[in-house]
Amino acid sequence: MSQDAVLAVLLCEDTQTECFIRRFLVKRNWDRRQIRAETLPAGKGSGLVWVREKFVNELKAYRSRSARAATCLIVASDADDKTVEDRIQTFKDACVEATVAFRQEGERVIFVIPRRNIETWLAYLRGRMVNETDAYPKYDNESDCRDQVTMLDDLCRRQKLEPEPPPPSLAAACSEFKRIAN
């Protein structure tokens, strides 16, 4: 009976990142029902390993489904002390091991890789000057990121990340999001 199938699968290594991205999508006029989050439950081991394991199957599912409907896959994982490129390479390696082609031109598959983690972006969106090596405080409640979601939406509308310079990983994620712009 469900009249609207999921259009975005969000593969996430932690619930704070999931909450932030999901709220951001809703803010950008996605319907909550169009988004399906697959998230590592809190405190359940290595997020990167979990997302990497899931990624190849989700990529296959995306390709299978996208033949029928405009779907997208959003993969979110912390860079930690590596670079964004290092993390994306991890997913490329997973594809090689599984003999599955990595993301092709035009595929609506994006990588959201906050460095060091999502708290870096949240601190930046609170107006702080940040670097990508320090650890910034976590929120007690994931939903407390609502003001930062609004701020990012506002910056997107203005097409400018301020204050400058933004965390390079956030700028990279903004470029990725252009692949799935409706």
């Binding site: 009976m1 469900s2 009249q3 609207d4 619930t15 909450c19 999901r22 709220r23 319907d31 909550r32 029902r33 399906r36 989050a37 998230t39 439950p41 809190a42 405190g43 359940k44 081991g45 409640n141 994931e142 939903s143 407390d144 609502r146």
Partner: protein, 367 residues
Amino acid sequence: MLNRLYVDNFRCLVNFELKLDRVNLLLGANGTGKTTVFDVLHRLQQFLSGNAKVPDVFPGVDLTRWQSNPTQRFELELQANEANYDYALLIEHDEDRRKAKVKSEILTMDDKTLFDFQDGNAELYHDDFTPGPKYPFDWTQSGLGVLQPRDDNKKLTRFRKELQKIIVSGIHPTMDSESRNEDSVLSPNMENFVSWYRFLSQEHQGSMLAIFQELKSVIPGFNSFSLKEAGEAKVLKVLLGRPGGNGKPLAYNFRELSDGQRVLIALYTLLFGLKEEGVSLFLDEPDNFVALREIQPWLTALTDSCGEGIEQSVIISHHPEIIDHLALSSGRWFDRDSNGPTRVTDKPKAQVDGLKPSESMARGWES
């Protein structure tokens, strides 16, 4: 927001303390006392509404079966904006457990007394915490519950009001289409949903649009509700689009919808109907009857709403989708050894690497 509930000597709850956050999932095997917690809360609401007597709300049959102690203790810690309320109620049963009375009933705010009933004598305090009148009072009902709101007892009556904002309910699709009057309080099994909806449509008209908008994306072809006169009663009609989408919507009695559709309507009405009121939702197995496709969207709508209109959510669930989403971050794990007292922890006894929490529970490996 309810921060703490303490219960002693009520069924399986013995020296039982439950601490709550903004989002909570109560989980554990059948018979571990999860629904009993909701039952206690509902009884305290009834008792403090001023319309109920002790023997009706706290009958002797609910004393813990394996104990001889004749007293029951209930405590609530409730936070309303910056105020912290502590409520303590002591019920004393006679030897044959046929009669019961209030031994003491005390309410404090930020550790300062607002109401104190002990052994038949009540003492009221003003909003500035100075002592007010002392008077003898009936042992069989709540002295706090019967007080009329006045200019100098706003803090005290606010506690009652905040407590009534907690909606404690299981959602059973036994709801009828007809209602004879408006009802501001939902019954524990939501049988009076239509009466409650009538109240909502009068007192919270601003939220109707939000409810309709949400339901349009949840129920295929949903258009709106209407309440039609039927003698002395009113019937809730659900307007749904015709097959193909052309022409005027068709009106169905609420009862004509499927169980799952009625439950979905109730769930979204709860979530979007009272947002501006700062209510808390204590829902027993809201996932019953609901299709798998519907669970995550409703759950994320609920958790996103907490702190944005919905003050607090406490859910009881055995559904894997809900367990995997909330168990490790917001779980309260209930357990009982050999039909003994309920114990609750904020972590499972054992976490199993490589398994989802729901799969651990399915195997019984979490305990």
